[in-house]
Each structure stands twice: as structure tokens, then as C-alpha cells.
């Protein structure tokens, strides 16, 4: 392929040609448009750098050379689309991930929850459920679980099935036990699960008040009013426009004085409603809606 000269550079983007970047960006956006129109999966506003890496991985795995070739293949072959979907779904999660977050939740959010007769909590992008079980354990220990209902949602049905099963890998229990203790846990973590041959089966009672449901943050609307919304390490995969839209969805779904919890490295600055929140614990990314 010929070298990309400065003359091809669209006006006002940069002082030098971004190498082969231009054409690849065109191919990627055409592929995403095709995927959306043919299959309805909308990745058009996901953060491109991460998406591009994943798409290239699929290009090579299919024995192809270009993103355009992958587009051609997957538009005519639903099985290929399925494989790309698997590549694009990043479900990495852990119990009591970032223990300091759970500690701050115990200390700063639970007292607020005690003032309500009943609380509704939305865990958006809950993946395989580790976060939900962690939260349930915390609420149980703080004696507010009985008057709480957790709505745990994800775009991906198959991770929700795994979340419902409550079985997590046994070899993770050491790490999770340490996290649990650092997160302010007060019991023996092993009380919460039974070690079985295929994994650690967590107590069913932990999800008595949990509703798992499919929900797409890109296209679905709010489905309730919440006292707490937790959405961690989901919006980092979105571009800023989509982040803004999802922030608006969360703001509109929170009651006044409701609490929003984000991932450790996520910023509320991109919320169009930044001014509508006050900081509850800025380093743990816990905010309270005031406006």
C-alpha cells in the first residue's frame, strides 16, 4: 500500500499525518455501522483505541488482513459476528475489587441508607455478579439488606446467567478473602460460600433481594428511581459523548440525595450534571445528588 502523504490529512486535525491511522479509522467506523445496521449491536460510541485492538485480534484470528475484510465476512456470516461479540465483551471483575471503595461505602453510604425505610440500588454493568454479591454481603453485615432491593443489570445475558448461579472460581477465594477484610468485612469470608468441586457456591440468600435483568446503557431508558447507582469500569469503554448520555440517564434515575458510585479512575467531570453532585468521598468516587 502506498505511503500516506500529508495531502490526505483532513484539515485541522494535526501537524503531521497520523501514519496509516486515517484509513483504518474509516474502516473501523464502517464496520461498526454495518454491525449496527445488520445485527443491532451498537458499538459506535465506544472508546475507539480499545475497540480497535479487539477488532484487529478478530481480523487475525479469522485469517484476514484488513478490517474491511472482516466487515465483509461478518455481514454474511452470523457465526463470525458471534465470535467478534465475544471478543468485544470485557467482563473482567472481582469480589470487593478496590477494597477501599467498599470501606468508604460502609462508612459513608450505609448511614444514609439507614435513614430510608426502603432502598433501591442499581448496579449497572454488573458482569458475572461478583460486585453484586460483595455489595449484598456488605449490606447484610450492616443490617440494611432486608430493606434493600438490588437491580443488577448488564447488556450481556450470558454473564447474567453466571451471576444468577452464584458460583465463582475457588482459586480466587484467597484474593477475595483478603479484599473482603480490607473492605471492612467483619466475619469469616468462608461463611458465605460452600466449596464444591466446580467452584465456590455462594449462599442463595445473598440474592434473595436481587433482580438480575438485561439492560443496555446505550439504548435503554431508566426503569425506576434509585437511592444508589453503582457503575464501575463500564463507562471507561465508552467515548465522551456516550459517557455524557449515560451520566444524564443516571442523574435522572437518582432520587435527590441519591448516591452515585464510579470506578476508581473514572471522573464525574464528564457528567453534564457535575454541578448537581456533591462529593461524598472523592477518592473513592462516591457522589451525592444535590441538584
Amino acid at each position: 500500500m502506498a505511503s500516506v502523504g500529508a495531502s490526505r490529512e483532513p484539515a485541522g486535525t494535526s501537524k503531521h499525518p497520523p501514519a496509516h491511522g486515517d484509513l483504518e479509522d474509516i474502516e473501523l467506523s464502517l464496520l461498526l455501522e454495518g454491525v449496527f445496521r445488520q445485527y443491532g449491536f451498537d458499538f459506535r460510541e465506544y472508546a475507539p483505541a480499545s475497540l480497535r485492538r479487539r477488532v484487529w485480534r478478530r481480523v487475525f484470528a479469522e485469517g484476514l488482513q484488513t478490517i474491511s475484510a472482516l466487515q465483509d465476512k461478518l455481514l454474511h456470516d452470523p457465526a463470525c459476528m458471534e465470535r467478534l461479540l465475544l471478543d468485544l465483551s470485557i467482563n473482567v471483575t472481582a469480589m470487593f475489587r478496590d477494597p477501599a471503595f467498599y470501606l468508604a461505602f460502609r462508612e459513608k453510604v450505609v448511614p444514609i441508607l439507614r435513614t430510608y425505610p426502603f432502598t433501591r440500588i442499581w448496579v449497572a454493568g454488573c458482569s458475572t455478579g461478583e460486585e453484586v454479591y460483595s455489595l449484598a454481603i456488605l449490606l447484610e453485615e450492616e443490617q440494611v439488606y432486608d430493606r434493600a432491593r438490588i437491580y443488577a443489570t448488564d447488556i450481556n445475558e450470558s454473564v447474567l446467567d453466571r451471576a444468577r448461579s452464584g458460583v465463582f472460581p475457588l482459586d480466587k477465594m484467597r484474593e477475595y478473602t483478603q479484599n473482603y477484610i480490607k473492605g471492612g468485612g467483619t466475619r469469616a469470608f468462608s461463611e458465605y460460600y460452600l466449596a464444591k468441586y466446580d467452584g465456590a457456591q455462594f449462599q442463595r440468600s445473598l440474592i434473595e433481594n436481587v433482580v438480575f435483568a438485561q439492560h443496555n446503557l446505550v439504548s435503554d431508558h431508566s426503569f425506576n428511581e434509585f437511592n444508589v447507582i453503582i457503575c464501575r469500569n463500564v463507562m471507561i469503554y465508552f467515548d465522551r459523548t456516550l459517557q455524557e448520555r449515560v451520566h444524564r440517564l443516571f442523574f435522572d434515575s437518582l432520587v435527590t440525595f441519591g448516591v452515585l458510585g464510579l470506578g476508581h479512575k473514572e471522573s464525574i467531570r464528564f457528567s453534564p450534571h457535575e454541578a448537581g453532585y456533591e462529593e461524598l468521598d472523592p477518592s473513592e468516587k462516591l457522589y451525592r445528588k444535590v441538584g
Binding site: P18, A49, I90, K265
Partner: protein
């Protein structure tokens, strides 16, 4: 001419990165992004604090979608991959890549895509081969590849792997890297042919 300096380091990296930063003259206004392997439980922020002691530039742990600004030093936070978009950073919690998160390859490859020949990549000491692919990618899109001389490195595996993966523009002892970068900034290498692999 240049847009971004990317540094990758592992074992022994703190000291090495500290020296490179300390050697950069104050007027050099390029942003610098760093992926240094750390233990997953490394306390938050400490790397930034330690490096801040070596330089007057603002040193920051990256937050998602943070804008890339001149003169700033950006650190990949522990347990996240650091990715470069045009004008800003992105983070991901994707699986570790060859045991590493942050992965140096991810930083370098995304920087190469976003800024092409405007990237200067630097591989320092380390006991694995992360970064070798990424540096080769930077080189392929016309950027500059700099590698610490394996002879003086605390661990030479990473520089050796980078040398094997690409044709470096410079293989230098640690205390010459800062000066070399400054020299490039003052007088950019002549416009490079942009080639595709």
C-alpha cells in the same frame, strides 16, 4: 513535530525513569506517558509521588479520558491498561497481557495509532519482553525508537527483546537518554518515510 513521549519499564524502572525525567531540560514541553509494571496491590499514587520528587513537571495518575497536555507526566494507574486516543487517554481493565497490567505494548501501540510519526518510544530496564511489539509498531509508523543499553540496565531482558524486535534509532546508556530526547525536540529527525508492515 513530536507529540508524545512514551516510556515503558519494569524491574528497576523507578530509578531509571526518575533519571530520564531528571535529565530533561525544563523547556522541553512534550507530554510524557509512562507504563511501569507494578505489583497489583501497589499503593495508589506512590509511583507518581516518587517521580514527582525528581522533576518539576506535573506528574499525574491518569483518570479516564484525561486530556493530554504539554509538559505533563502521565502514569498508567496500577491494574489498568493505559491507551492513547487523539488528545486524551483512555483506560481499560481488560485481562493482563503476559501478566502485565498496565501493558507497555498497549500504551505504545495505541500511541502509534493516534500520533504516528509524532511518537518517541523509550524502552528501559525490565525482566520480560513487554514493549518490544509496541516499540516496533512505533517505528513502523515513522516514530522514534529509543532503547536503554542492555549492558547498564538493572535487567536486560526487556531492552534485549526490543533490540531484537526493531531497528532502534538509538541504544543509549541511561544518562544519555534525556539529552537525546532533548536533541530530537530541538532538531527533529528529518521527516521519515511512512511505511506499512
Amino acid at each position: 513535530m513530536y507529540d508524545l513521549v512514551c516510556i515503558g519499564a519494569s524491574w528497576g524502572g523507578l530509578k531509571a525513569i526518575g533519571q530520564v525525567l531528571a535529565d530533561l531540560p525544563a523547556e522541553l514541553d512534550l507530554p510524557i506517558a509512562i507504563a511501569q509494571h507494578r505489583h497489583p496491590d501497589s499503593p495508589e499514587g506512590t509511583l507518581a509521588q516518587l517521580l514527582q520528587a525528581q522533576t518539576n513537571r506535573p506528574v499525574l495518575d491518569v483518570e479516564d479520558k484525561m486530556a493530554i497536555e504539554p509538559r505533563h507526566v502521565y502514569i498508567a494507574p496500577p491494574n489498568y491498561h493505559l491507551l492513547v486516543e487523539r488528545g486524551s487517554f483512555a483506560l481499560s481493565v481488560d485481562e493482563r497481557i503476559q501478566f502485565a497490567r498496565p501493558s507497555i505494548d498497549v500504551l505504545f501501540e495505541t500511541a502509534a495509532h493516534a500520533y504516528g510519526s509524532g511518537v518517541i518510544g523509550i524502552i528501559l530496564t525490565g525482566a520480560n519482553d513487554d514493549g518490544a511489539h509496541g516499540l516496533a509498531r512505533i517505528k513502523r509508523v515513522g516514530g522514534v525508537a529509543v532503547i536503554q543499553d542492555p549492558l547498564g540496565a538493572a535487567r536486560r531482558t526487556m531492552p534485549d527483546a526490543a533490540i531484537a524486535a526493531t531497528v532502534a534509532d538509538a541504544i543509549l546508556p541511561l544518562d544519555a537518554i534525556g539529552k537525546f530526547i532533548y536533541g530530537l525536540w530541538v532538531q527533529p529527525a528529518t521527516v521519515r518515510e511512512v511505511t506499512k508492515a
